[in-house]
Symmetry: D2
Subunit: 313 residues, 4 copies
């Protein structure tokens, strides 16, 4: 099993797309270290780098590293990506309020005639504490532990090229905190080689990613790829040490909640010996359902069940 | 401080309403034990009691015990209700699939021309296990621990009389698992005496209450009432040993997510020394956001922050 | 057949409710002239009467005249209300931008942290033109023809008392321009006597009632009541000289669109000799679907089909 | 000014994409006749061609003719496309109920666990009547006049390649009946040459396109292209002889309603001498707002104002 390190691209892709040339070819079982840029391409470094100005010269956001071609992956397969490690490559993270963006603002989809919220950049410094690394902002002065995850992880969709700001059946910009070290993410394969993209690491994020910018960091992401042949899934799935989870991204939010739960019922039927009706009933009593993201082009919700509830007496 | 026990009503109210005569008058500080019926008035006892038939003679669902008049409560105050204890009064719980009801079915609001899902009743038996009480169903054979909460807890709205199936600013049928023993729920007071209703206890429920019937039980609910004078809140709040939480109920679901988070920002501003902008930023990084209920007339979402993040360095 | 005139109430009801005493009893076939107040109780008369101040002393909006008890009406019947005539009782109408209200603003349901839009009152003067009466505002200087309708028309719901700002199965604050002279509105009867309320006349309104205040007028409304015994409908229906229409009010808006169209399919099945599948197909090809209101507590949509398409070759 | 005829492609594109090679280059002022396939590529010809089977061999739907490269068009310009004529190339149209598709069914976005509606194909025959051409189906036996429009008309988006089933800022699969002969559609230009696609003609369609298949026809579409240099628009606009209209496509439906109305306010501000506040007020009183489509990946709504209301006294 090889270990391959991918450098940050010199120019960026802002789409999940099969029209792009792979930056590397790997085999199932290989470990890939992907160097990723932050969601604003490093243009926000100080509290003075207000988004409108700092981003005026970039046409697109959320630069992606990839695509990685996984040998043997074909449409109808599923790719399993184990998140091994996420290492920040700088000693700070930024968050920001951008105009007409964020869960508590009107925006391009939920439009109003109101003025935008005031722009603001929040710089969070990385520190070593007795309980481990944490981030802290000078004004807020609350310690936020370093618990990183990958905001964006995708395979290329079929025929389409989709903005890297968008989540969907192919994964994408899901901003779901459970895409984190120790967990394995399953994504559908739509094209030969799967064509995997990643980026947008977060040092920490609350459920919902409320203002739209978590603790945004450039990072060195270690992933292990595996392939499940001839097994198709419809939406992303996550396996953690203690839970199985499905992610769905849609609008309105209840559509995402419905999809995630239908997919979880079907998964329990396929692999865990429950009928879909038993699954529907059991999830009613013990399922989890949280909002990963309420700011992106589609909202991402995560349905889950603890593994202990998958064991019958 | 008195302890007052309220028996189950002989006839039921199915509205949160100031047009109803109080069943008891209590003082702030008093403890009230409220005997509550299950959401289907005890009509579903066996797997043969399919909802359409079993409920054919009842015009309304979710019978409520109350209202309780709390001395001294006036519009503009807030009532604090500590959930002390919930004791099931039978040795089983039911759940059910009812036609055109539930999160994974079309229904009266999300209408389609499709056939309904097949009705089914699930009886869950209460057992004692080595780790405590649990419920188990013969078909599903998965142990669900006894972790009860109050599905419905309300004050009477102003002028309106609202169906007891509905959640809103007055609380109501929120079906939020954090309305549980050990936690204190804050509700706005809209009428003299507050006029508190409760019912619809659940022995356990997943986030979302997927099929619309949790582990439904009749119960003996012990509550302690307190009053915060001249402090108005807009939506229900919960204080737990380790978190502060807000509940909002709306459609589409993103509207509930927005309201709950705005209310939590405002609470952090009012009482915890953060500006609303610091709160917006901090919740982005460490807030919680789960779906309490995705089946009722409005969806209930819970936004939260752990108390440890309310302490500044 | 009697003609009964109801004066404006001295104090107002702000709920559709069976807890209120009828102001008159009429018989099917009777004509009732109802004097109605405008939605802000006459408090906005000049451009200086900005809503926040002008309405500071009123706890509720949308005052209603009624309820009218219709002899013989019983739950399960349908009441037919022919809109005969709407006469403005003043020579102006107002519209206004109120804070956190309106289709292009955040509000109590779609909450954000943004500042409100600036308040403004628009006074529209009633004039006689060569093509009939019209309204004109000094700043905008566009003639809007006098084409009045009834914004709010309701029966009392069962058990509930619902804010007069809300539309629903009982009709209510639908703000649908087709509730206009020449048309007949059908509403479900939930209580003995039906208990009919009306108010909130508009001299003209666009589809959507965008800012939330149409050309608001006090008016003298002439209605003829009729009763269809033992026929229950689920949502309001309208019969015009050339169309049949259904109204549904829900959130999100697609839920209202679905309900209105399902109800129209069922109506075509019940009374016009189509199967529901033929109706579904035919509405796809020739149905109408407009937004009556996008600002109220629920959005009201109108589905329709021209009568000429109800005739088979 | 040239007239250029484009034949139906031999193989189809199912994306609006700048990655495709133009099929023709035209100049502003040119007239282009585009031969288009129906939405199911001609695979549904009889009532026996049920969608699941008939479409089993096609991976994608809604085949497009194009892209057309318009000389001189650059990002930031607007392209004006006059719909001159739509001629059906066969003597029938089809509509169909497909599984898990349509406004009154659950589907891939609004998921439930219910069974699908039964598949059915409706063949509508083209006839000559004394009032002109019409379509009629043997079972339904209602005459539907020939009033054709273009269901899909798009420019290529920037970087993205978007499924031809999707509407958006670039136009696309809007299914809006006002994209019809006599009207001019304005679309934003995101790429050099604009890259225009069209297809999916409908012989007639109700508002909402309820079941998802209007009277689907292959057609010969005559368009005239014009270019407005250095004028950018955000969403599609339509100019008809008597109205100006904006189209927006989003979920939930109220988001589309908001966007369409904000865009119409801004258009009235840019070109018709109103402030945006006057526009907001005037649209409240006289605006139109109908649902073009409630089945596609996003819902398309049309906001409008009659030109007569754009003239000040």
């Amino acid at each position: 099993m090889a270990v391959i390190e991918i450098e940050k691209p010199k120019t960026y892709n802002y789409v999940f797309s099969s029209y792009l040339k792979p930056v590397a070819r790997v085999k199932p079982g290989d470990t890939v270290i992907m160097n990723t840029e932050d969601a604003c391409e490093g243009r926000i470094q100080t509290a003075a780098d207000l988004p409108k100005k700092a981003l005026s010269s970039v046409a697109f956001l959320n630069p992606q590293t990839g695509p990685i071609y996984v040998e043997g992956a074909e449409p109808g397969d599923t790719i399993a990506i184990k998140i091994v490690k996420i290492e920040p490559t700088t000693n700070q993270a930024f968050s920001a309020f951008a105009e007409f963006f964020g869960g508590l603002s009107s925006g391009p989809f939920t439009r109003t005639l109101q003025e935008p919220l005031k722009e603001k950049v929040w710089i969070w410094k990385l520190k070593d504490g007795k309980d481990g690394k944490y981030y802290i902002n000078d004004e807020i002065r609350v310690k936020v532990p370093f618990e990183p995850f990958v905001g964006t992880l995708a395979t290329a969709p079929k025929l389409e090229a989709i903005s890297s700001l968008t989540p969907g059946p192919f994964g994408g910009n899901q901003d779901v905190p459970d895409v984190r070290p120790g967990n394995t993410v399953y994504l559908p394969v739509f094209n030969p080689g799967a064509l995997v993209f990643t980026g947008d690491c977060h040092a920490h994020q609350g459920q919902g990613e409320l203002c739209g910018f978590a603790l945004e960091i450039p990072a060195r992401v270690t992933l292990t790829f595996d392939l499940i042949k001839k097994k198709a899934i419809a939406w992303p799935r996550i396996l953690s040490p203690d839970k199985i989870m499905t992610i769905a991204s849609a609008r309105p939010m209840e559509d995402a909640a419905r999809i995630a739960n239908v997919e979880l019922c079907l998964w329990m039927e396929e692999e865990f010996g429950f009928t879909r009706w038993e699954a529907y009933e059991l999830l009613t009593q013990v399922g989890g359902l949280y909002v990963g993201n309420m700011v992106d082009t589609f909202y991402s919700l995560v349905a889950s069940i603890e593994k202990k509830y998958l064991v019958r007496e």
